[in-house]
């Protein structure tokens, strides 16, 4: 078990190197000359001399591999370079915005958990009832709506008409509700259906019949069904966490949430390469780490996977 996890962690290192290299290459393939852009975003006329001196200042006159090496070395020391636009250290910009995004994604995750588990279990219990269908239809609609539209509708109803929340911004605890709900809409239907489907399938398994035949109480039966149903959802949820964090861009824009998604989009528009590179690298790390964590959790939960791994190891 521990050996397996250690092995996975070791594998992360080459993977992250590959990701960082790819990021660096892709970003540098972009059409605009970063030195020129760095001048332009500060409203400096890009004359030839100005571009040349900026190129030197940013280290862009170095050979490509050297640039990558310098950048990578900096990253290992926690130095992701400075933004081309305002010269703010990228690490500081990330430290300023990431907690806000984590908070938004965290609350969103909570909303997803509460609603999809409740709705999933209830729908499974009353399978094919009117309520089941209604809930599913409603959630389906919510998922099908693009976030910017759903967000504005929610804002109009709950902030403007009912005046329950502020329209936007990050002021006070209540301001997180609307963006978090908007963000969770896209995931609700997936998990509700996953849990519902698994529970329905499991409840027809023979072990349920045995449990009932042994005269187990209904709550014990349900507990077994739920535990067996939750596993696939857990894997999917694990992979959703980085997706939630990376997918906040639209919601952050609409609700004026000062998170990392907005930081990244602004950086893309300004061709602020150090910020883009740091963002992509960060997201890659998040995905890879979450993936590893989910695998580990699955092993803990499911003895079969554990045995398989041990047999291989």
């Amino acid at each position: 078990m521990i050996r397996f996890i250690a092995k996975r962690l070791l594998l992360l290192i080459p993977m992250l190197f590959a990701v960082s290299f790819l990021t660096f290459v892709l970003v540098n393939l972009g059409g605009s000359d970063p030195a020129e852009v760095a001048l332009r975003v500060n409203e400096i006329t890009p004359t030839e001399e100005a571009v040349a001196s900026m190129r030197e200042q940013l280290g862009l006159d170095q050979p490509f591999l050297r640039q990558y090496g310098d950048w990578m070395l900096g990253c290992l020391h926690g130095d992701f370079g400075n933004s081309y636009v305002d010269n703010e250290p990228v690490a500081a910009a990330v430290a300023r915005t990431l907690p806000n995004t984590l908070r938004l994604a965290g609350v969103s995750l909570a909303v997803i958990l509460v609603f999809s588990v409740t709705a999933g279990v209830l729908c499974a219990k009353y399978e094919d009832s009117v309520g089941d269908r209604l809930v599913r239809a409603f959630i389906f609609l919510g998922t099908a709506m693009p976030a910017f539209w759903a967000g504005l509708l929610l804002m109009w109803l709950f902030a403007v008409k009912l005046a329950l929340f502020p329209t936007s911004g990050m002021e006070g605890a209540s301001s997180v509700v609307l963006p978090a709900v908007t963000l969770s809409l896209g995931y609700l239907s997936t998990y509700t259906r996953l849990i519902r489907g698994n529970m329905c399938r499991n409840s027809r398994e023979s072990y349920v019949v045995y449990l009932r035949a042994r005269g187990m109480r209904e709550r014990t039966v349900m507990r077994h069904i739920f535990k067996n149903s939750i596993q696939t959802s857990l894997t999917a949820l694990g992979m959703s966490i980085p997706k939630l964090i990376a997918g906040t861009v639209v919601v952050e824009n609409i609700f004026a949430w000062p998170g990392i998604g907005r930081l990244c989009v602004t950086a893309i528009f300004n061709r602020d390469y150090p910020v883009i590179q740091a963002y992509v690298l960060l997201m890659a790390v998040l995905f890879v780490v979450c993936n590893t964590l989910v695998d580990a959790v699955c092993m803990v939960l499911d003895p079969r996977i554990r045995r398989e791994q041990e047999a291989q190891g």
Binding site: E36, I44, V107, L152
Partner: protein, 554 residues
């Protein structure tokens, strides 16, 4: 039994989720405390509007952008915010006249090389530092030492010497009789005064240690990408601002802005050219009548640039034909909702030196057809497009895809061009690619927006000589481009008013005759605000917002 269990489980999950949410929100406890109490109450509950108006007289202004670094000698901050905090020696009023500001009066020597400014006495910077000739000199020297950043402004290169004559007399010596000196001293940046204490190693080009100016507003709080708070400068030398504070809220989405206005969370939206509010929404708000809306006088020129360096548009006949092909009135009525007036010439007649007699070219598709015919473009019956030597008359307009208005105008143009047998392709690009294209000159048509008063015409015309601008690239194909650039350079330092006017007339006539621009309209600055906010007016520059004149009245 089973049902109770489910309920219990659900309650447990709910409790856990709430805990999680609470934990997530825990870290903002500290930052909340730094906010004024009245603001917290204004964000909660439906009594928000009433409470806010009672508690304070704070103007909440929404902007799509953060104020960023408002160092007055650099260009990365929002101009409207820079203008609130920092002041210049002189200002340009809405009639285009130069008025005193930090300089009470001034004299210009007969050779127009020496400017002597008599400074206002008893003015202090927000940090208590005295404002005097020494401080002015420090500011000027810091700006000049960062010369290459100010390449758009000839002024910086024209300064010969800065002198402190006595405590309140500052002398500026120029190399040539550079005529827009006072105007360029008045614009929002870079010639604004910041406290000598904010300098880092005697410079401002690598950043400043604070934002102490002499203006009517003091930047008191700034949460990047969230809000900035400007408090009234109680010790202001002039008439103090009427409200106690301005809260600059960042709202990247304009729809959100409109909803926030409807809810009463914000008081004012203000902005130029679709930046803050598009014309459709503006008109809707105007019609609803729930809010007050204001339109400034025409400030800037909106035109289409025709690239003389491309094959088809390189032909003067074709460029002339396109002038007649565009139905400007329809564009003004249909897209700009009549809020702007159609333009016959690149520069409005009321701009300085622009009252030049030029022949207006009004919509005349027949004439356009004839001209194209003369240029050898024959209409094909098959597809309604003109051909010459088997090649179709096809061209492309490039635009910044963020700008919905330009997209709509392009579609109108497409239909107008189609009418005369010219196929127009529309390519929207994101901003940096669009700017790359300006520099490379790889376009047939492009948008050109002048900077508006008080920059027009001198700064706009001056920028024609810079290769990174689309204007330069489009003009490169002109026979007399060299003469054009030389004339512009010469007229900036022409001491004789009459000769200068002649030179302007020559270049504006040449550009007009060569049909480099299709003038569309003269744009206006727009403002939408709650009816209780009064005194919403405009400065000469579309980039400034006169918050200090605004006040609330029930």
């Amino acid at each position: 039994m089973y049902q109770i269990k489910i309920k219990k489980a659900a309650a447990g999950i709910l409790a856990a989720a709430l805990l999680l949410a609470a934990a997530g929100c825990g870290n903002d406890g500290a930052s909340e405390n730094t906010q004024p109490a009245e603001f917290q109450s204004s964000t909660q509950g439906n009594t928000a509007e009433v409470e806010k108006k009672e508690d304070t007289d704070e103007i909440v202004f929404a902007s799509t952008k953060d104020i960023r670094d408002i160092n007055p000698h650099l260009y990365s901050g929002e101009m409207a915010a820079q203008n609130m905090v920092f002041e210049s020696l002189v200002v340009t009023d809405t009639d285009g006249e130069i008025q005193p500001c930090l300089a009470e009066s001034w004299e210009i020597s007969d050779d127009q090389l020496t400017y002597t400014f008599h400074l206002r006495q008893g003015v202090t910077f927000h940090d208590g530092e005295p404002f005097n000739a020494e401080a002015v000199k420090m500011n000027f020297d810091a700006i000049i030492s960062n010369r290459e950043r100010h390449a758009w402004m000839d002024m910086v290169n024209e300064i010969d010497e800065t002198l402190v004559q006595d405590e309140y007399t500052f002398v500026l010596k120029m190399k040539h009789p550079y005529y827009p000196t006072l105007t360029e001293l008045s614009v929002t940046r870079p010639f604004r005064m910041i406290s000598p204490k904010c300098f880092i190693d005697g410079e401002t080009k690598n950043g400043v240690s604070g934002y102490a100016g002499t203006g009517p507003w003091i930047l008191s709080e700034h949460e990047k990408d969230q809000y900035a708070l400007f408090a009234r400068n109680e010790a202001y030398w002039g008439e103090a601002a009427k409200v106690s504070a301005v809260r600059w809220k960042v709202m990247p989405d304009t729809q959100t802005m409109l909803l926030a206005l409807e809810k009463g969370e914000i008081d004012l939206i203000f902005g130029a050219d679709g930046d803050q509010i598009d014309l459709n929404s503006f008109q809707k708000l105007q019609e609803e009548g729930k809010y007050a809306t204001e339109l400034s006088d025409p400030v800037a020129s909106r035109a289409i640039l025709l690239n003389c360096h491309q094959e088809i548009t390189g032909d003067l006949k074709v460029r002339e034909a396109l002038q007649y092909a565009v139905d400007k009135e329809s564009i003004v009525e249909g897209i700009l909702n009549g809020s702007e007036s159609a333009a016959d010439t690149l520069m409005p007649e009321n701009a300085p030196y622009c009252d030049v007699e030029l022949e207006a070219r009004t919509y005349d598709p027949e004439k356009a057809g004839e001209l194209l015919e003369e240029a050898g473009w024959e209409l094909s019956e098959k597809d309604g497009i003109r051909y010459k030597d088997g090649d179709p008359c096809e061209m492309t307009i490039y635009l910044n895809s963020d700008n919905a208005q330009e997209q709509a105008i392009s579609e109108y143009l497409q239909a107008d061009f189609q009418n005369v047998g010219v196929k127009l392709n529309i390519v929207g690009e994101e901003k940096q690619s669009y700017l790359d294209r300006q520099k490379s000159g790889d376009f047939d048509l492009m948008y050109s927006l002048s900077w508006g008063t008080p920059y027009d015409p001198q700064s706009y015309v001056s920028s024609w000589r810079i290769p990174a601008h689309g204007d330069y690239q489009a003009q490169v194909g002109l026979e007399k481009k060299e003469w054009l650039d030389e004339t512009i350079t010469a007229l900036m330092i022409e001491g004789d008013e009459e000769k200068r006017a002649q030179s302007y007339a020559q270049i504006l006539t040449y550009i007009h005759e060569q049909c480099v621009y299709i003038p569309l309209s003269y744009s206006r600055t727009k403002a939408v605000h709650v009816p209780s906010l009064k005194g919403v007016t405009f400065n000469a520059s579309q980039y400034e917002i006169p918050f200090e004149k605004m006040y609330f009245e029930e």
